[in-house]
Symmetry: D2
């Protein structure tokens, strides 16, 4: 058996960069049973893929993903493309006996996600694993929050409050990129960032969303077709033709969890000044936690058992050796960055490939998020009526 894990990365935008960085870095900080090697970069366009491979120092590139996912020298297929291509690639890769790490959202519809999950179940029987890239689970602060819930520190959970606030669409002339095209992206703020909130809320709280009442809204219904894409958004050419925005700009919904908690969710890219405020607050009968990714190295924790005169939210700098993941990095107080989450993901995935324990979230977990997204959309289309999540 080879001592390395050979990866084909599909896609070469922002997320792909983060993944490749992580495949290469994980082994230096974590004890991995095998050494990851990024063997192949796959892009839609052969020329652009070659340029990206050069820049990212990947030895080989191709535009033929179908061939790529069946190659003998590939162990893992890492899918970083827009959601509309996930199903086809993932199913083919699993059928070819490759482990699959697929970026979120798993798919653009529940139907696709179900098909993928079925394929993953078949593959699992043959020892093939599937993972979905809800990378925020790898944030030490959120992992610590989940641990606190599991340890019973929060008691009975009453409130889950999740906001994912960005602002890169505030300018009505930001360009019409693929993230604003329903065919490519499946949905807007809801699937792109709201999906993170749904996964984190369920994972940290240990409860599943039973039903939702939702509102979706598009503030700016057309945008310039021309302009320069950059980061998530870019600078639109406001003199150019405008095309229709076919996704939601903002999503808001209330929820009931199966364990009795009440949830409030909001996802938007129009919260001017909030750059990446992925926030989660949970209130229980004994304690509370609050997290904001803009301060990703911190977790706020309230312990209701502290003596009354000294009670208060604690600002935990989640960089101590006793915290999740952090013993492999720097001394306490020296924070981690966004890119490091992907290193944790690689460490978890590679460990799972070799070990007994299944890394999560797998496709079935991601399908569950997809079902919540579907319920949100159904409720929004039905006058916000309370809509159970169909499972």
């Amino acid at each position: 058996m080879s001592s390395s894990v050979r990866i084909a990365v599909i896609g070469h935008a922002f997320m792909c960069k983060a993944h490749i960085h992580a495949w290469r870095t994980a082994g230096r900080f974590f004890d991995l049973p095998k050494t990851p090697e990024v063997t192949l970069l796959v892009g839609r366009d052969a020329g652009r893929a070659a340029i990206a491979a050069e820049r990212l120092n990947v030895a080989e590139s191709t535009a033929d993903w179908r061939a790529a996912v069946t190659r003998d020298d590939i162990d893992v297929v890492d899918i970083c493309t827009p959601g509309d291509s996930h199903r086809e690639i993932a199913v083919a890769a699993l059928a070819a006996g490759k482990h699959v790490l697929c970026e979120k959202p798993l798919a653009n519809s529940v139907g696709e996600a179900e098909e993928m999950t079925a394929a993953a179940a078949d593959a699992e029987a043959k020892g093939i694993a599937s993972f979905c890239g809800f990378s925020y689970r790898r944030t030490p602060g959120l992992a610590l929050a989940r641990k606190f819930v599991q340890e019973g520190r929060l008691g009975e959970i009453r409130h889950v409050r999740a906001q994912y606030l960005q602002d890169w669409l505030s300018d009505a002339n930001a360009p019409l990129t693929w993230r604003l095209d329903k065919d490519k992206a499946g949905s807007g703020a809801l699937g792109d960032i709201g999906a993170h909130s749904i996964d984190a809320a369920q994972w940290v709280s240990g409860q599943r969303i039973g039903g939702v009442s939702a509102l979706l809204h598009t503030f700016v219904t057309s945008r310039p077709v021309g302009g320069v894409a950059e980061g998530l958004g870019g600078a639109g050419d406001f003199t150019s033709e405008r095309g229709p925005v076919s996704v939601d700009d903002a999503a808001a919904f209330t929820a009931r969890f199966d364990g009795g908690a009440v949830g409030v969710f909001e996802a938007t890219r129009f919260a001017l000044g909030r750059r990446n405020a992925n926030r989660l607050e949970i209130n229980g009968s004994r304690g509370s936690i609050a997290f904001d990714f803009e301060r990703m190295n911190e977790l706020e924790y309230f312990d209701g058992r502290d003596d009354q005169q000294s009670q208060g939210f604690r600002r935990i700098h989640v960089t101590d050796a006793v915290h999740p993941y952090t013993d492999r990095w720097w001394p306490v107080g020296h924070g981690l960055g966004y890119g490091d989450l992907f290193v944790h993901q690689v460490a978890d995935v590679v460990a799972a490939l070799e070990g007994d324990q299944q890394a999560r979230p797998h496709f079935a977990d991601a399908l569950d998020v997809q079902r919540v997204l579907q319920a949100v959309e159904a409720s929004a289309e039905d006058s916000s009526r309370y809509t159970p999540v169909a499972r």
Copy 2:
């Protein structure tokens, strides 16, 4: 014409203490056209009213509110009782030609509020004024936020995010006080604190809520009848009999504003660790504001027109002489307290009694809040279906 304004205060709990303090303090810091004098304290029980009057240094007390509101030596009736008595007292007082300041929520139902507003309209024709005590409008930070909206600093408003989080019911053995009795209080978190959020959101944003989709929930359905009331809650006697909680513990709703904004509201007394987090955030196309009453002397403000490398939420210490109300108090940086809001309210009310400008919110404003509350309850009873506010 007398140079003083003579007030009868109805009620003698926490809120009454704040009001009396304010009637006496306002003239020392603000230039009032007349001097307020608290002449009479009215309580349900003559003995307890007398004790309260003694403690609060009010010369006279009585249990007969009907007589009180018709006395010649009373100019203003200040109603600080639970909501179920507001209508009867206010209507009688207005009919007797007294100005009325009534605590919020204005009433326990839209029907009552409409009756009161009609009475106020009749009285207004005779020069009699009505006010509702949404005292948070008197917070310099919120008044500044409203000013920023009016000045166009936020541009087109997209998001309104209001949370009112308290935690004094987190303990399942907190006692069954009047605030948990639907007959007395009308509703729970919704009317008690959610009403503040609704009023503030509409007042600051300059937009009205057009419709809502809501969820109400009671986490702890029965509580000890015995125990010691204290502050808002108290220490229940968990060995005593338990009675039913007939109001909501938490309310959550999404909203659409008539100006195009999307709203998310949440009110609860179960957010462990949040003592009085009355929060409002508004995101517009040019700027944003964020406020939290736990830091009542601050307003966060984001100006999207700042040069890109120096953009960030500003923490404004709203204690400068150029800020609303603050020139009458201390040097910059020396904050105000909760009690001072009522001083501002008195200053505004007394100024309005003598001037041309009507003080707000009057009963019609408060009726509008009541109508939103009604829509929230209707939606919650109809599977969270989107429910327009009936106006």
Copy 3:
């Protein structure tokens, strides 16, 4: 014996307003053994004193402080004038058998303060009390910090870090007011605000400063004589003649405490953007506290005995009924303001006048602060050489 305490207030600027407000308010919130009555307002100029008395609703005014402090109908003399007049008034009042509350700093020199303290000691033998107005001791958060130290929660104290940062002199054209005149004010930032830090640091830590090494600096050496005084500073008329600034703009010193702690102090009115950042942080072997008056309702507290994974500074909202002073005010989470500190001061002073317990700080405490100030000035004049505090 009279059931009231009759007060003559000397001075009628900002601080006097705060004092009069407090004398009148304390009895409504605290159980006082006697009722304070502000009987007389004393000002340098009879006409201006009369106007102030009118505005502040004090029945009588005078320009003759000597007569005032010997009147039979006065029990307490409350001195709110600049420091250069404290000694003469306080000594005369004590000699006349009046209790004295004197604003800080107690005097403009150690010599004056010693004379005053001697007079206070003589008076004390006759049952006459003296107090110095270090009002920040009445902040619930600082009082709680002191309690934590006394309870041993901080363990052995190692670090005391005190900053008092204001910015009202940042503009080089702010006017030349009395606070910039050494003859009137004694010193600049050092005595005006640094004195608060010294008192708070010693009071909270329970240790006394043994010696200091100091630096004093004046950034702007001349300022416009003309202009409008307002708040602490005002708007200077930059076309007017400039006069010399004779006090320090900033003071910085390191210190050794008699209990082994190391101190770092800084006081300035040139910290642009810091409106009234009166900060104190103390680190011990078991815990730490941090306070900033700009968030006066909060205390940060770190408990080193918390389990390692949940350690963090707690943000205590010091408004709970179990906290110092706060049970007399509002429900938890409803903060206090600067003016309320003076109410606490009055409550403590009036209680002390009637009780067995002496209210602190008395003149001897204030003399101790004066001695530290003297050591600071001596060190600054001697090349910052370490200078023991002469006691």
Copy 4:
């Protein structure tokens, strides 16, 4: 000319791990003229060096640093050892024509640092470069602060306030590691972390420290020789013999800058609860900045030219594409971590090796810091007397 830069890393503790990670990562995010390759790992003990090389995936290891620094296949010598060995290694490497990157502090004495700087000057004439690892300069927030100063946004600088607070020695039984041994470390908190503050303060403010008045203190004078080193500190075996601590636990000093600013500095490892609070605040006549490494992705900025009612410290999330370094990483709002600073350092160093612009800080810059440290120690030994920095 080779297209790669070959590096020998000397040392294999925490800092070495950060450096190797950076040498390997920089090329993926920054456009480097040459590709760094870590060729050789050097350790004191051949066996432990081999183990470290294996773990860190470095092909070769040795215990013979003298041979290493003269090898033809080495271009850069990267020194990550304790300070007592810096001089000897650096001088030999420079003499052998190798570029040198040396961790801070440059040396354990001014004499050593002067010798190294002289060697660097000689080498520079031959095209050989020297760098000192004040890595905090690579923090986007601090780099932005410096930019603001250079752009004149702060105006005339009055105050520099630098604190470097850690707490890993708070436990009196933490073990006696090399960082507590004067022979190895040169000094304690002063040189270890205070040196960072000095460098950052001078670099950001653009002013040099002219003189200081200082206090050094050791709280715990002996510590267990046995125990487990971990992170910066570890768990001492309190039953083991205790050895003397020969360095300072805390350093505090005031300073005068050559441009007229007043400085206050404090460095300690006893500030319980402060994990890595490397803080810098600068107040000028027009603006202020404040930074805290515990929130390394943020910079607080106050612009005194904002209109008065909206003035306040802005919390800038320094992750926008317009900020220093950040365009190469993630979308706005997705923060960086401590490890990423070393990537920036590598990018700057490699660019400098090939370009016209000299990377800073070079040895002469680091010597300047050393001279300030010397003045601090001299002042502390001379009763804190003001001591000019000898240059």
